[in-house]
């Protein structure tokens, strides 16, 4: 059951982190939509999972001090291997196993030169745009509740 010997492309870590973060932020529908547009569905052998577990979320005492355990959150993760030997990992909050499995395949596809552009345009870019729009909208909605203080009467006569 050994994975074929692979040479992991020397991908830049920031790119891989961004890819993993956006896949975690994507909805199952977004990921499925991208999967459906994929002309040739790659064979992906499950290596681990998809499985649901917990991550202990930590905070910091006083906001910036030493860590304490705040409570747990559900996480679902998956690891798959493509026929080429490339291994993809995915992990996201929640209990969605389909999302984890498909995300792991996209993580693997992103690492391969031939399919990286597809992953970028079909899933990462749209998700990034949506998240940014949602964030901007929330920021504007919150900004509308900002208090503008003004002085009514000044006491020095």
């Amino acid at each position: 059951m050994d994975v074929a010997q692979q040479t992991v492309p020397d991908t830049d870590l920031a790119g891989r982190r961004r890819c993993a973060g956006l896949l975690a932020g994507a909805t199952l529908n977004e990921i499925r939509a991208a999967w459906d547009t994929l002309a040739e569905k790659p064979e992906a052998r499950p290596v681990r999972g998809p499985e649901t577990g917990l991550v202990m979320v930590r905070g910091r005492i006083g906001g910036g001090g030493s860590p304490f355990n705040l409570g747990e959150a559900t996480v679902t993760r998956a690891t798959v291997a493509l026929a080429s030997g490339t291994v993809g990992h995915a992990q996201a909050l929640g209990t969605d196993k389909d999302k984890a499995r498909l995300s792991a395949i996209f993580d693997a596809l992103w690492q391969e030169e031939a399919s990286r552009d597809f992953v970028e345009t079909a899933i990462l870019a749209p998700v990034e745009t949506r998240l940014a729009a949602e964030e901007a909208q929330k920021a504007e909605e919150t900004a509308a509740t900002r208090v503008d203080f003004f002085t009514m009467v000044r006491g020095d006569d």
Partner: protein, 368 residues
């Protein structure tokens, strides 16, 4: 003494069936969906997540539905569920300074960087029942305004520059955090463990304790330095990748309580701080938590321990509502044999007293 008895199986089965019926209620009304609960009873869902100590909106909404809105029952269900899951690891500690803020107010500084952001608050409402909610009238979209670029800095970073406010504690940044879900509680406990216990503690219990400090039982002169609510990124180190990745975002509420402090043999006069951090949107809980956190630091700061809120063993041993409800509610389970034993004992004590009294009377009669 325990005696095993059997019986009531049919009664239990039928009781569960009846419970399911009453939970569903009138069949002519549509059944409430998980999404509806998560969206429209969001603060109930938040409370269940916080006190169950498990962040998962869908599962918490399911628990609220299954428990017919009994939130402690829902918390119990979610706590039980979490024990079935393996733990993959711990997150990188949350960076609440980098929160996407949805609400942020300070009672100590009017013009702090980032401003006073009221957000979706019940404050300033008139607490009048709104008849328009009897029907499903359309609700306006929120107002919008261009958001400033200004960073919404933590209030504790403002006073810190003057040295008037204590720092975030003197434990190292990479101190391993104790975990009360893994090791039994031992007193006295460190502040990290206390905060874990308080974060999952019962909101009502912490609210009452916080209130008691304000009424003079362990008064600690609090000001809300800041309350903030918003989403933070949860990141985790993935060993097979060799770096940390984002798992998504969660909503938390953070309270920095700033307390005037006259100084003691252990610490100079300065502002000390109590800290509150809670899953979801719940500033009542975060504020109560920060008051109690500060009260429980009495010994560390060299204060006299005079009030319940300062008594670590009392507070932490009784803050967990799943434990509390288990022990209180178990009293309704059959105690037939215990009670028979007590009954026999009370009968005997009464008989003994009666006999003694008769004896005295006979003595008196004999003496007369």
């Amino acid at each position: 003494m325990y005696v095993a008895v059997k019986g009531g199986e049919a009664a239990i089965t039928n009781a569960h069936r009846l419970l399911a019926d009453r939970r569903r209620g009138d069949r002519s009304l549509p059944s409430v969906t998980i999404d509806q609960i998560a969206e429209q009873l969001g603060l109930a869902v938040d409370r269940v997540m916080a006190e169950a100590s498990l962040y998962d909106r869908s599962l918490a909404a399911l628990a609220v539905r299954q428990s017919r809105g009994d939130l402690i029952e829902a918390i119990f269900l979610l706590r039980a569920y979490r024990t079935t899951l393996p733990r993959f690891g711990s997150s990188v500690p949350l960076d609440t300074a980098d929160m996407q803020v949805e609400r942020r107010v300070s009672a100590t500084y009017k013009d702090l960087p980032g401003g006073q952001l009221l957000g979706p608050t019940f404050d300033y409402t008139h607490r009048l029942l709104d008849p328009s909610l009897l029907s499903d009238e359309a609700v306006e979209e929120p107002a919008r305004r261009e958001a400033g670029e200004e960073a919404i800095m933590r209030v504790s970073d403002i006073l810190a520059h003057e040295g008037l406010i204590e720092a975030d504690g003197d434990l190292p940044q990479d101190q391993p955090a104790g975990d009360l879900t893994r090791e039994p509680l031992e007193f006295p406990m460190s502040r990290d463990l206390r905060l874990q216990a308080l974060a999952r503690g019962d909101e009502g219990f912490l609210l009452a304790l916080g209130y008691s400090t304000q009424r003079g039982y362990g008064r600690n002169h609090p000001f809300v330095g800041e309350v903030r609510i918003g989403e933070v990124e949860v990141e985790m180190d993935i060993p097979e990748l060799g770096f940390a990745v984002s798992l998504g975002r969660i909503r938390v509420t953070e309270c920095q309580m700033v307390n005037q402090f006259k100084g003691s043999s252990k610490a100079p006069p300065q502002f000390t701080r109590g800290y509150g951090l809670v899953f979801g949107q719940n500033e009542r809980k975060a504020m109560s938590m920060s008051l109690v956190d500060r009260a429980l630091r009495a010994e560390e700061l060299g204060e006299d321990i005079t009030a319940p809120a300062q008594d670590e063993e009392f507070v932490i041993s009784h803050s967990d509502n799943v434990q509390a409800t288990g022990f209180v509610e178990h009293l309704k389970l059959p105690h037939y044999v215990d009670f028979q034993a007590e009954l026999a004992m009370v009968r005997k004590m009464r008989a003994d007293i009666e006999a003694a009294r008769n004896g005295e009377n006979e003595m008196k009669d004999a003496a007369e």
